[in-house]
Amino acid sequence: MIPPVLELRDVTKRYGSHRKPVWALTGVSLKVRPGETLGIVGESGSGKSTLARIAVGLERPTAGAVLVNGDVNRSHNGASPIQMVFQDPASSLDPLLPIFDSVREPLAGDRSVSAEAGRTRVMRALEEVGLSHDIALRQPGGLSGGQKQRASIARALVALPPMIICDEAVTALDVSIRAQVLNLLRAVQEQHNTAFVFISHDLCTVSYMSDRIMVMYLGGVMEAGTREQLFATPAHPYTHSLLSAVPPLQQGSGARSRLRLKGDPPSVTQVPPGCRFQTRCPMADTRCRQEQPALREIAPGHHAACHYAPVPLQELEAAATAAQPTA
């Protein structure tokens, strides 16, 4: 049996001191198989970026295990088996290095690659992302945002890693460029059968890219399932609210009315006991406030962390309207 490229087992991450802890992640588990794309959706404070950093090895979890290709020790020809494309094109590339050098960097640890072979691989990677050869000699300063992001993608794939994590990779780009870059990522996946973790706060972009989607809120997983499952039969109230924010054109299954959540998003320093989502859920009751719902399987491959999951949309809407009579 081929091990998953990436597996997180009950990963928890705490920042800050014992007295004032900040729980960025609590008990998150996931598996990504080779060639698969997992999408992670969440607002700021959901822990998605922390998850990315732990997956890629930049930080260690406070508790839990991270396995890459079934192994705790990660190695792929001297580099990390998981590469990353970052959000900000401007700070993703060293402003003083020509693009060529930046893209070549992941190959530095691989002794089997000669200078000539390395050069070929860099040029091939640049071609694949659609950057012409003369761009290789320039510094990032003269490039546009889209070009810089392409260079970052070239860097990510030059060592042919089994997995690439994209942390808000298209968020900083102009909308018109986003589609091009997304298509590029899909082309890369088809060409190399790379596994992807695609992180964004935008459900549309995530669903465009992903086979399976995980919805996160305040450091925990609220719902996880295939794209079809989440769109057709969303189970968690939070997922419902995210979907209701998607413009009708994208859904193709009839218009939904906008589901308004009450209250303000809580901060990561004040996670409420019981269900994380209680402060904004229209259906929250005493049980929700006391007992934290476990992530349980409500259908094959479909998990949700809610006492009342699967929650039908009508029930949720009714509860929301009832809570706001003047809305």
Binding site: V56, L58, M84, S91, P95, G109, G130, L131, G141, Q180
Partner: protein, 294 residues
């Protein structure tokens, strides 16, 4: 299934491909008149100090009978209390002060930048301990420390250098540490870590070049300050020892004859002020240029 995307035509994104994003450095320097002034002053100083002693002037050590003469065609700035040509001594003294200041700055920067970057990158207890030590060293007024050490060990040029470096290290480390921390947060450093680049290589390849602006600013400001401190120490007799001329000591010697021959005191003073101001103005200008780049 197409495996390549066509090369992007110009016009992608918000900026055409060919337009450079930055104005050239010379243009930026020229647009800041204060910076130009500072750099020109530094240049003038360096030229005067390097070439001056070779020009056909009087011997700085030759003691003549023309004591305390006012400026004349023979002695452009007059003579001092033992008949030595003031101008010649001035040029030599300026050269030695500048040499000491520049050497001490170079040393302090090499050590301080290394420590600052290392502290920022390694973090943890290394950083904490270093900061505590710096706090302690900074609790002692630097001039007191300098005087005490020179008095105890005995004034000599190596001790002078040691003392100057020691008193300026803490501030250098602090400033560079902050800059290195900022650079360390950037995504390209994370990317290098992911690519398993060795820590030292990251510091040399990514952090150091990207803090070079701050290093240059610090260099300029430090030279100015070291000049000031060096002349104070030589005023007290703790600097470069006689018979080598030094600017501070010339002021000290000339004080007795101040009313008779004010130029003996005023000319070294003017040179000191000019030199310190040159590097200070240049340093401030460079700092402005650096901040506008961010």
């Amino acid at each position: 299934m197409p495996t390549r995307i066509q090369a992007i035509a110009p016009g992608e994104g918000s900026r055409p491909v060919d337009r450079p994003a930055q104005v050239s450095m010379m243009q930026r320097i020229r647009s800041d008149s204060a910076l130009m002034l500072g750099l020109l002053m530094c240049l003038a100083l360096l030229i005067a100090v390097c070439l001056g002693p070779f020009l056909d002037t009087q011997d700085p050590q030759e003691m003549t009978a023309n004591v305390l003469q006012s400026p004349s065609p023979l002695h452009w700035l007059g003579t001092d209390s033992v008949g030595r040509d003031v101008l010649a001594r001035l040029l030599l003294g300026a050269r030695s002060s500048l040499a000491v200041a520049v050497a001490a700055t170079a040393l302090a920067l090499v050590i301080g930048v290394t420590m600052g970057i290392a502290a920022a990158y390694l973090g943890g207890w290394v950083d904490w301990t270093l900061m505590r030590i710096i706090d302690i060293v900074l609790s002692i007024p630097p001039l007191l420390l300098a005087i005490a050490l020179l008095a105890a060990i005995g004034p000599s040029t190596p001790t002078l250098l040691l003392v100057l470096v020691l008193t300026h290290l803490p501030q250098t480390v602090r400033v560079l540490r902050v800059s290195a921390l900022q650079v360390g947060q950037r995504a390209y450093v994370d990317s290098a870590k992911i690519s398993r680049v060795h820590a030292v290589r990251i510091m040399l390849r990514h952090v150091l070049p990207n803090v070079r602006g701050m290093v240059i600013v610090q260099a300029s400001i430090m030279v100015a300050h070291m000049l000031l401190v060096e002349t104070i120490l030589s005023f007290l007799g703790l600097g470069v020892q006689p018979p080598s001329p030094s600017l501070g000591f010339m002021v000290s010697e000339g004080r007795q004859w101040m009313e008779l021959a004010p130029w003996v005191v005023l000319s070294p003073g003017a040179v000191i002020i000019f030199s310190v101001a040159a590097f200070t103005i240049a340093g401030h200008g460079l700092d402005r240029m650096l901040s506008s780049q961010q």
